[in-house]
């Protein structure tokens, strides 16, 4: 590798950026998010399906644990909650790029920047996952009991979790949609990438369950934000290459 190769490498990711372009980008993102919500609302089958998915998973957990009788211990409550959210997130995000038809994708390509597409998809998925997670939390707390002592911290953590799952899984679903066996790939690619995030989330929410002070979870929360930023930045840089195909 010579000097030229390194110099070439330097300008790969250089994206021309001015304040005007930033405003345009934000406007494009806004329209794309609106479009995604409108589509979702028009074909409510998918949305209802996801809500039912969360609800029935929670209920299955409730029934399986109530056979033994008695309350769930707090660590098990916590782990179960996050595993339910993990599977819901994988299922909900997976359809993001799969349901877009080829023709419609081509149409976007002529209209907007790829960065706008990925950021809009991330934002939309984050909002969708947040909604699903809050509904899930409500049902879950209703049937399995609510041992959380620090509700604001717990909900904030769920918010960060939805954002993190969305950032990681959106690019992964874009990658998986291009391959032949996309549903298997979604799990194979997504799960290992999400484990570090999941571990931090479980740790913070355990702190919230035990009613520890905010100080105890500050480092973990900061790391979560940093991880989200890394993954988001990498998605932003890489998506333009993904969408050329």
């Amino acid at each position: 590798m010579g000097v030229r190769a390194i110099r070439r490498l330097g300008c790969i990711f250089a994206v021309p950026f001015t304040s005007q372009a930033a405003v345009l980008l934000l406007r494009e993102i806004w329209y794309l998010i609106q479009k995604d919500f409108r589509l979702e609302w028009r074909q409510r089958a998918a949305l209802n399906g996801m809500l039912l998915y969360v609800g029935s998973t929670v209920f299955v957990c409730y029934l399986s644990f109530s056979l033994r009788g008695g309350e769930l211990p707090a660590p098990a409550w916590n782990a179960l909650f996050w595993i339910i959210l993990l599977f819901t997130a994988v299922n909900a995000v997976a359809k993001g790029f799969l349901q877009e038809s080829r023709g419609r994708l081509l149409y976007y390509y002529t209209l907007v920047r790829p960065q706008a597409v990925i950021l809009a998809k991330i934002a939309y998925n984050a909002l969708l996952l947040l909604g699903l997670a809050l509904v899930g939390l409500g049902v879950y707390a209703m049937v399995l009991g609510n041992p959380v002592q620090q509700m604001p911290l717990f909900v904030g953590n769920v918010l960060l979790g939805a954002l993190g799952f969305a950032t990681t899984l959106t690019l992964v679903s874009g990658i998986a949609a291009k391959a032949t066996n996309s549903s298997t790939l979604m799990a194979v690619l997504g799960f290992p990438l999400m484990i570090p995030m999941l571990l931090l989330l479980i740790k913070v929410s355990k702190n919230a369950l035990d009613g520890l002070e905010f100080e105890a979870s500050r480092n973990a929360l900061l790391t979560l934000v940093a991880l989200n930023l890394i993954v988001g930045a990498v998605s932003y840089l890489l998506f333009p290459f993904l969408w050329r195909s």
Binding site: M1, A5, R8, L9, I12, F13, T168, L171, I175, K178, A179, T180, N181, L185, V188, L189, F191, P192, L193, I195, P196, N219, A220, T223, L227, I230, V231, V234, S235, L238, F241, L242, R244, S245
Partner: protein
């Protein structure tokens, strides 16, 4: 010969590592005893793996800039060598843990982080094998390679430092900076790092060549 001096250097350094690493005196420490010599074999694996995986990511980025089958082959073969070194690192670490901690595997952030990172790279190999179109496979695996690197490196170098760990060099446990104030061990450790890394480069170079030759033979058959 002018071009191949580094291969001779790799052989010499590794011979030196094997002989000096097993025979030179080491600090006498309780529990660790002679297993401290694993420093010359286990730790260089991770150094080498990081360097080789970084090379693979650079090739992937160059591929995205300027697609060619050659760059794709290079990034793939370097990633495979990196994964191999990571697996050897896990194996040597596990063996060491058996004699020091009394167990092959324990739930430690550093160990789990390394295992998850290996899973992430395992997914890279699965991803590669699930495309029919060669160009699409090349581009998408280049994208995933960069993504995986960004996700895996914090697992090795950042997340374990934030929590307590049994592993030497973390959570107040001594690492080699504290064992060998007489710096005897550094005399073997640094050559070992360079030697193992050069061996990894050599391995990747050979597998890149084999792979390119195979592609050429395939093209000839088609023609």
């Amino acid at each position: 010969m002018k071009k191949n001096w580094w291969k001779a250097l790799a052989v010499l350094l590794l011979l030196y590592t094997a002989v000096a690493g097993l025979l030179m005196p080491v600090p006498r420490l309780a529990i660790l005893n002679e297993t401290i010599r694993n420093l010359y074999f286990h730790v260089p694996m991770w150094f080498g793996m990081t360097i080789i995986l970084t090379t693979s990511v650079v090739y992937s980025a160059l591929y995205l800039r300027n697609p060619s089958a050659r760059l794709d082959t290079k990034s793939h073969e370097f990633a495979k060598t990196g994964i191999l070194m990571g697996l050897v690192g896990l194996a040597t670490g596990s063996l060491w843990a058996r004699f020091t901690w009394g167990t092959w595997w324990t739930s430690d952030p550093k160990l789990n982080g390394a295992a998850i990172a290996m899973l992430i790279y395992g997914a890279y190999l699965v991803l590669r094998s699930s495309f029919n179109d060669e160009q699409q496979r090349a581009r998408i695996s280049a994208i995933y390679n960069i993504f995986a690197f960004a996700a895996a490196m914090p697992l090795f170098y950042i997340l374990p430092r934030l929590t307590d760990s049994l592993h030497p060099g973390a959570g107040g446990n001594p690492a080699f900076a504290r064992y060998d104030l007489d710096s005897d061990m550094r005399m073997v450790f640094y050559p070992a790092v360079i030697g193992w890394t050069l061996l990894g480069l050599w391995l990747s170079q050979l597998s890149v060549r084999t792979s390119l030759l195979k592609q050429k033979m395939y093209e000839k058959q088609l023609a």
